[in-house]
């Protein structure tokens, strides 16, 4: 069984979920796909917006979360780091 997710794991899961959906996702979908509570997601989302990893956009009546270039490159770095951690058994 996987251990408890760290903060950085959750951020990674959120960014991956957005990217899997072609770069934009509805907030509720993001919440389900990242296995988070509403309060938890609100906090993380504020953090990601402040870091300019994601943006909130409005399309008609719906609100979407889109991943920025900065968010994409951070996700790539995170995947490299995870691969490094697993490879070296850290």
């Amino acid at each position: 069984m996987e251990g408890k997710r760290t903060r950085i794991d959750i951020i990674g899961d959120m960014l991956s979920s957005i990217l899997d959906k072609g770069g934009e996702i509805k907030p509720t979908h993001l919440m389900y796909k990242s296995n988070m509570s509403h309060t938890q997601m609100k906090l993380y989302l504020e953090d990601l917006i402040a870091k300019e990893f994601v943006r909130k956009i409005r399309k008609g009546n719906y609100e979407y979360i889109t991943i920025s270039d900065k968010g994409c490159s951070f996700l790539q770095k995170l995947k490299e780091v995870k691969e490094f951690e697993e490879a070296f058994g850290l």
Binding site: Q76, K79, E80, V81, E85, E86, G89, L90
Partner: protein, 232 residues
Amino acid sequence: MVQVIYSPKWFYGGDIIIDLVSIFVLLSIALFSLRSYKIRKNRNYIYLAVSFIVLAGSFLFRILTNFTVYYNILETRDLGFVNLTYQTIKASDALFIVGFFVYRLLNLLGLYMLYSIYNKQPKSNIFLIVYLIFVSTTFNKLTYHVFHLTSFTLLALITRQYFKNYSKNRKKVTKFIGYSFGVVASSEIFFELVTVTTRFYVVAEIVQLIGYTLLLGAFFMVLRYGREKDKD
């Protein structure tokens, strides 16, 4: 008088280039590990980086020592003054002793640090091992052989650890890292045989180069797999 040089004359400088490559590989991985720590906040990244930096530092001392000794010997041979040559060799002896002492000490400490990442040590053990490393590189008539044997043992244990990790995660990269440390470990056997013929010094250096090149290859594999995952 101590034996100043193990390298055959035609290989002077070759070992310096090989050590420079080893330093490049070790520092590249160490820098990546330090950058990774900023993201993951896992202390093992720091330990890995420090152990690789200490190992790179040990090679730097070996380069500085070899470079000065080769330079002095070649220069005095050109001048042809017997007395000057004698004095330079004596000075080189002192430099050799200090330079190689630091090289051996840092090398074993770096390997022990790397080994300790995977086999957590109680504080009392750390003090004991550091003391034993210090003693084995200082008060010993067979320092050269003891050093390479200890280095081989630590590298063999590290290699075993990476293969144990591989049996758990089944990652090709981990197996590759295991091979690279295994090759570096085998270079220590050739260093042991240098007293038979100096040609083994060249073989040992080339095997070391292969080992660190494999480690660099494994590092590139890590970066490539990370990027490929991103595309998936």
